[in-house]
C-alpha cells in the first residue's frame, strides 16, 4: 500500500476539480518526502483515477453511488491502515468524511488547510483561523496524518495520459445510520463558486432578483470560467440560491478575481472572500468598507457601471 493516499470525490465517472488539486498536493508531498502516492476511488471512476495517479485502489460501492459520508468513512477506515498521510478536498462532503474517518482512526485532523510546507522531512499544514485574520502552521501527531484542503489551494494535476492498473479492494458494508438521498441541483454550465477562477457577486444593492441579468451579462463577457455568488441577505430573501452565498456562514472562496457588486463589505462577508487574488468592488458609497479590501474600486451606480464594464471587456477581447 502506498504511503500518501488521496480520497477521491467524483462527478459521474470523472474526478472533481478539487480532487485533482489534492492530487497535485499529493505529488508535491510525494517528491519532497520520497514516498509513494495513490488514490482511493469508488469503482465507477477507476479509469479517470488511472489517468492521474501512479497507483489506484478501487473501492466497490456497487449500485449505490450515493452512500453518504457516514458509510463512506466506515468503509475507508477498513483500508487505510498502512498509510502515513490521508488527504481529501475540503468540500462539504470531504470535510464530513474526514471528520468521521479521523475519529474511526482516533487521530487528529487538520481540516480546511490552505497549503503545507515540508521542513527537514516534517510537514506543517497551513490553516486560516479567526476568519482568515490569523494563519497557523500545525504539526500532526498520530498516524496516519489527516488533512483536508480548501478548493483552489493548488492547481489541478495534469493528466499523465497513461492508465495504470488498479487494485480492487473489498470492504464490509456497514448499515447506514441515516437514510440519505440527494436532491441534485439543476446542472449548470458554470463552475461551482468554490472552483471558479472568476466570481461575480451581487449584494442588496441590486435591489431585487429581477436585476441579476446585468450580472449574468457580465459573466457571459468574462467567459466560461466565471460563476455567480451573492451576499447572505440576498440568499436569505431567496433572490438567489443558498449555494451561492459566500462568507462566514456561507462558502469560503479564493478565485483569481472577485467582483463585488452592490455589496457593503461586512466583516462576515469579507471572511469568505479575503483569499481572492484580486478584488474589484463596485459601490455607489465611497465609504463602503468593501473598498478597504479591494484592489480596484469603482465608485458609481452599479446599474451604469456593470454594463459599461461588460462592454469594455467585450471591446478589448
Amino acid at each position: 500500500m502506498f504511503k500518501i493516499l488521496v480520497i477521491a470525490e467524483t462527478a459521474g465517472e470523472d474526478l472533481t476539480t478539487s480532487t485533482l488539486e489534492v492530487c497535485e498536493a499529493a505529488a508535491v508531498l510525494s517528491s519532497s518526502l520520497g514516498e509513494s502516492w495513490g488514490m482511493l476511488v469508488p469503482d465507477h471512476a477507476t479509469e479517470a483515477a488511472g489517468k492521474v495517479a501512479p497507483d489506484v485502489m478501487s473501492l466497490g460501492v456497487g449500485e449505490d453511488r450515493y452512500p453518504g459520508a457516514g458509510q463512506v468513512a466506515s468503509m475507508i477506515a477498513q483500508v487505510v491502515e498502512s498509510t502515513d498521510i490521508v488527504i481529501m478536498a475540503a468540500t462539504s462532503t470531504g470535510k464530513d468524511v474526514m471528520g468521521r474517518l479521523a475519529q474511526h482512526l482516533s487521530v487528529p485532523l487538520a481540516q480546511d488547510c490552505t497549503g503545507f510546507e515540508v521542513v527537514s522531512g516534517e510537514i506543517k499544514f497551513k490553516r486560516a483561523l479567526y476568519g482568515g485574520k490569523v494563519v497557523v502552521r500545525v504539526k500532526l501527531s498520530g498516524r496516519p496524518m489527516m488533512a483536508s484542503f480548501r478548493p483552489r489551494s493548488f492547481t489541478p494535476i495534469a493528466s499523465s495520459g497513461g492508465f495504470v492498473k488498479a487494485v480492487t479492494c473489498t470492504v464490509n458494508r456497514v448499515t447506514p445510520k441515516t437514510s440519505v438521498h440527494l436532491q441534485a441541483k439543476a446542472v449548470s454550465e458554470r463552475p461551482d463558486v468554490t472552483e471558479a477562477s472568476i466570481v461575480v457577486s451581487g449584494g442588496r444593492g441590486l435591489r431585487g432578483p429581477e436585476n441579476w441579468h446585468i450580472l449574468e451579462d457580465l459573466l457571459d463577457a468574462l467567459g466560461p470560467d466565471a460563476a455567480l455568488a451573492c451576499s447572505r441577505p440576498v440568499s436569505d430573501d431567496n433572490w438567489r440560491p443558498h449555494s451561492e452565498h459566500v462568507g462566514q456562514t456561507g462558502r469560503a472562496i479564493a478565485p483569481d478575481l472577485y467582483i463585488a457588486v452592490g455589496i457593503s463589505g461586512a466583516t462576515q462577508h469579507v471572511a469568505g472572500i479575503a483569499r481572492s487574488k484580486c478584488i474589484l468592488a463596485i459601490n455607489k458609497d465611497p465609504d463602503a468598507p468593501i473598498f478597504k479590501v479591494a484592489d480596484y474600486g469603482i465608485v458609481g451606480d452599479l446599474f451604469e457601471v456593470v454594463p459599461a464594464l461588460a462592454a469594455a471587456i467585450r471591446d478589448t477581447s
Binding site: 468521521r100 475519529q103 483561523l129 485574520k133 436532491q183 449555494s243 469603482i298
Partner: protein, 249 residues
C-alpha cells in the same frame, strides 16, 4: 425530548486577534466573547423543539471561567440548565474537545445533541462528526433545516451538488449552520430568570493537543487599492488593469 447543545465561546468576528510574545498563541487581549454564531442558532432550534415536544434543553460548554457568560446568555434565551466543563485554557484541538464532550454526554440521557458545524475562531470543523462516531449515533452536519415528526428526524444538508435529505431515528447528533434560523434576543424576563437557573460546574482535564501549533502569524491585511470615481473611460481603464497589471482576466 431531552436536548443537549454544545456551545463554544468564540471571539467575535470584529475582534482583532493579538499574538502572545512567543508567537505561539492568540492572547485574550481585546477579544470580545460571543456564543459561536452557529451554536447560537442551535440553541434557538433546541428551544423551539422543546416547546413543541416537551423535555429539557441542557447547554454544555468546555472552557475556562469566561465561558460562563455565554452559558448565562443561552439560559436567558430559554435553555433550562447548563453544564460547565471547566478547564484552565480553551483547548483548540477538536479531537481532544470531542472526547471530553462525548464523556459528558454519555453520563446523561439525551435524545438529541446539537452543535454548530464549525467554530468561527479555531475553525476545527469536525466536532459533530467525531461525536457521531464516539457515541455511535447517526450524525448529520451542515444542517439548515430540521424537523421532527413521530419520533423521526428529517434534516437538509446543502452540499455542492444539491441538497442531501437525511432521515433517522433518535438519538442523533446534528451540526447546524447559522442559516437554520436567526437566534432570539434574550428578553429582560429571560435574563432575570437565567440568574436562578443551575449551571453545574465540573472540573475536567483535556489531554494535550495532538494538532500542535508550530507557528502563528497575523495575515497581512489587504492593502487599500486603486479607487476610481465612475466616469466615461473608467470601465475600460479598469479592464486594462485587470488584464495587464493583475492578469486575472
Amino acid at each position: 425530548m431531552n436536548i443537549a447543545v454544545c456551545v463554544k465561546q468564540t471571539a467575535d468576528t470584529e475582534s482583532r486577534p493579538v499574538l502572545g510574545n512567543d508567537q505561539s498563541h492568540v492572547t485574550d487581549k481585546g477579544l470580545v466573547w460571543i456564543i459561536n454564531p452557529h451554536d447560537e442558532s442551535a440553541i434557538e432550534i433546541a428551544i423551539k423543539l422543546r416547546d413543541q415536544h416537551g423535555g429539557t434543553v441542557t447547554l454544555i460548554a468546555l472552557g475556562p471561567d469566561r465561558v460562563e457568560s455565554s452559558l448565562r446568555q443561552g439560559l436567558a434565551m430559554g435553555a433550562d440548565q447548563a453544564i460547565h466543563l471547566h478547564c484552565e485554557i480553551m483547548p483548540e484541538d477538536s479531537f481532544i474537545v470531542s472526547d471530553v464532550l462525548a464523556t459528558s454526554i454519555q453520563t446523561d440521557d439525551y435524545d438529541l445533541v446539537l452543535t454548530g458545524e464549525v467554530a468561527i475562531d479555531g475553525a476545527g470543523g469536525q466536532v459533530p462528526q467525531r461525536l457521531g462516531v464516539l457515541l455511535d449515533w447517526p450524525c448529520i452536519t451542515g444542517v439548515e433545516e430540521l424537523s421532527v415528526e413521530s419520533g423521526e428526524l428529517t434534516a437538509r444538508h446543502p452540499i455542492e451538488q444539491g441538497d442531501e435529505i437525511h432521515n433517522c431515528k433518535f438519538p442523533a447528533v446534528i451540526g447546524v449552520n447559522r442559516r437554520i434560523g436567526e437566534p432570539r434576543y434574550p428578553s429582560f424576563k429571560g435574563i432575570m430568570k437565567a440568574k436562578r437557573k443551575p449551571i453545574e460546574k465540573k472540573a475536567v482535564s483535556p489531554a494535550s493537543p495532538q494538532l500542535q501549533t508550530d507557528s502563528l502569524e497575523l495575515s497581512t491585511p489587504r492593502s487599500e487599492g486603486k479607487i476610481l470615481i465612475y466616469k466615461e473611460g473608467v470601465a475600460a481603464e479598469v479592464v486594462t488593469l485587470l488584464r495587464d497589471t493583475s492578469k486575472v482576466i
